[in-house]
Symmetry: C2
Subunit: 505 residues, 2 copies
Amino acid sequence: MARRNRKYRTRTDNLGVLPSPHIRRVLPFFDPLDAEQINRLETQVDWIMQDVGIAFRDDPEALRIWKDAGANVDEDTVRMPADQIRALCKTALRDFVQLARNPDRSVTIGGNNQVFAPIYGAPFVRDLHSGRRYATFDDFEKLVKLAYMHPNLHHTGLVIAEPTDIPVNKRHLDMVLAHMTLSDKPHLGAITEMSRAQDSIDMAEILHGRDVMDQNCVIMGNVNTNSPLLIDKVVTEAIRVYCRRGQGIVVVPFILSGAMGPVSTAASVAQAMAEALMVCAFSQLVRPGAPFVLGNFLSSMSLKSGAPTFGMPEPVMSNYAIGQLARRAGLPLRCGGSLTASKIEDAQAAYESADSMHSTMLAGANFVLHAAGWLEGGLCTGFEKLIMDADRLGSYQKLLGQGLDVSDEALARDAYGEVKPGGHFLGSAHTFRNYQNAFYEPTLSDSENVESWEEAGSKDMRQRAYDCWTGMLERYEPPPIDIAIKEELSGFVAKRKADLPDVWY
Amino acid sequence: MARRNRKYRTRTDNLGVLPSPHIRRVLPFFDPLDAEQINRLETQVDWIMQDVGIAFRDDPEALRIWKDAGANVDEDTVRMPADQIRALCKTALRDFVQLARNPDRSVTIGGNNQVFAPIYGAPFVRDLHSGRRYATFDDFEKLVKLAYMHPNLHHTGLVIAEPTDIPVNKRHLDMVLAHMTLSDKPHLGAITEMSRAQDSIDMAEILHGRDVMDQNCVIMGNVNTNSPLLIDKVVTEAIRVYCRRGQGIVVVPFILSGAMGPVSTAASVAQAMAEALMVCAFSQLVRPGAPFVLGNFLSSMSLKSGAPTFGMPEPVMSNYAIGQLARRAGLPLRCGGSLTASKIEDAQAAYESADSMHSTMLAGANFVLHAAGWLEGGLCTGFEKLIMDADRLGSYQKLLGQGLDVSDEALARDAYGEVKPGGHFLGSAHTFRNYQNAFYEPTLSDSENVESWEEAGSKDMRQRAYDCWTGMLERYEPPPIDIAIKEELSGFVAKRKADLPDVWY
């Protein structure tokens, strides 16, 4: 056992930070829709935007912006000819760089680039030692450290878990500060209220400097619409704060087919696309050229209980469909993730997460929130799940980034001169030249024979993941940061917290 | 707990036999190779067939057949111009029907059809109650019953586990008899020796009748080459027995890149294709038009230990590549499966199986052996794993068979007349019309909230799978069979067993 434990420790010693900031995909996209399917879906998208209309609620400034642009505004419902909406969306960038404070970790979002970020928004955490519980800021800091250290996560997101021991109106300050100081990867800012979005922007300006921020996207917000067909002020205010400052926004229709959309994948995909395009157009009215990511979170339900289900054929299909539609619209896409309804890190969690993520990967999602750590339909962040999912992300990273090499060296003709029928290639010169980079080497998969595995304690993947993340935290070292900037950030947070009364709801 | 247990029992009551005999795919294939990649791979395939050559060993009859066809035979190495090999392969069928004794369960293999069959060849079994052990005939019969009962398995394969308590030279008789009498789905026959292949053919003739067998494929053999570049007499003799009788043969190069092929996915794919095409040509020399399935079993290795690894990016890529090449060759394809190196039904097993199977599915594999039950790199059949994998196959079945419906009904325009912004579709007429068939309903995924799940005993997927398969066996009823045929089959087996001395190796 000692020997085997040492082996795992040695393997996971590599889990620090790699130079690769994101995936530059060479594998083609999987585009399963034919011309008729595309035509019927896009006609439906256009019909929703120009005939059904979408409500922009509780934000008179948003309605004023629409009216100024010539939209038909009927109470709070906005309609506009689809060609005009699509024309407005043309100023959005096909791809853009989100600068990280460590420029080696900056990511490109859009085009052939794919960026993986952890789960967002869970109030609970679970780990093998302490079980399930409300998340605290201590958990949150550990999760930020792990997301920073893991080479297969390119972006740290924001609410890896809700720090429920901090007042609701102050959490964003501690969270943003943690991402800025415990990690040097790119991350998100808050969106739940206009002032919190502004705090995030102000902190990003301290971190990156005004000039850099003027010229670059250094922070993004991620915000859900109120599907069906409703955009509330949380969305439009976040856009006004982020986009006016030239920063990025990810807008995500959250649709369980049958509840927030019709009980049909095609209709829900079209609705999601219509909602997102309308908001994209709005973002470009606020600031032409503002970085915009078209989001999509579409899943199915158990028709027995109404509970959301994940990794099922309907959301897999919607990932493939929305990928194709987003590329046609020329917009960066967020969809999918390692999603599951399972409560623990069992086979259900892994089957559902893998089918969800395999389709997310092939669909070409450019920004993948929830790529690691998701349990219980998003209610719970799993420490082991985070590390297990992230290990599998390395496999997708290799598949997308490498595709199929058919160079002369890959075809290995010289090896056939050395190896006879029924022989083996283990000792061939080609094998010696290539074996070190031939295969993805996962950290947490055990491929040894059953005797070795039993000798090492018959550990399942959860137990190995527990050993892995606890070991990573022991080795954590914060990335360097200018002490004056760190103090200014801390001072900003302290002042804002002092100015605000505690609010717990 | 009682309530919840009852619920699972009720759900799994549905696990009998569905009418759908296999998947008729409407989802397009994922074809990631571009023209240059295809050209370079096919040039390599041709080079191996005509310049490197492939050895046909220990079967002088096979060499005679090749010589008669004009091949260049140098000792036992066969070479032939690639265009001649490819021309010979043209008589193989693009698709064919394997008749089941219950015609409702006949399957079409090839084209847009996909057929799922369980694991093949494991000497061990594992279940949650009794752990890991050598498989017995009692285990084997249980596994055949489960494969018969499960609606997502279309074919029962043959060696779902090795009945190690029966002499090696008699196992095939008991196994084939079990498939023929405990199930009415299509299955395979033996290949390990010419006489055993002949026994399988003779039993199929008893079951189906001479006339039916003359006109139809009613049984197939599945046999591996001795990669690299070696076809031994087990393969050529099996082909001579099966194909001469107009029956099907699946021939599978088994290649771990770096051992039985170069340490390169492209080279291994090309080698597998070359070996399989040479054997296909041979099968067509034996009998033009004989049903042939081009097999592929390609995986990676741990470079630390040499142990095979599964579900990794390299075999995922090889599934996609071989799918595209097999379609270009116009041949039915066997590849992939729910493969894993894990010893138990944990998250590792599920992640690896799902990535392996998702690519198998999109690649368009027509006959998928190992689609359920595989553990430990194929050394062990898991009872729970069989049922867990099969549950996920239903999701693939829906995705492939349904694709994306964009009919007027699917676009649900009327629902937008009923539901206002921020409302919900739960009560809309469209939902009432469509909810029953809207979503795949898995049997073993638990999507309830954490409180319900804990109240039901906090069972993980393995435990639910154990409850499921034990309940299925309690409900098992054999499909009807003509008593005279059954007696004739039993008589054949009894006579053959009496004629043979027990052999245990």
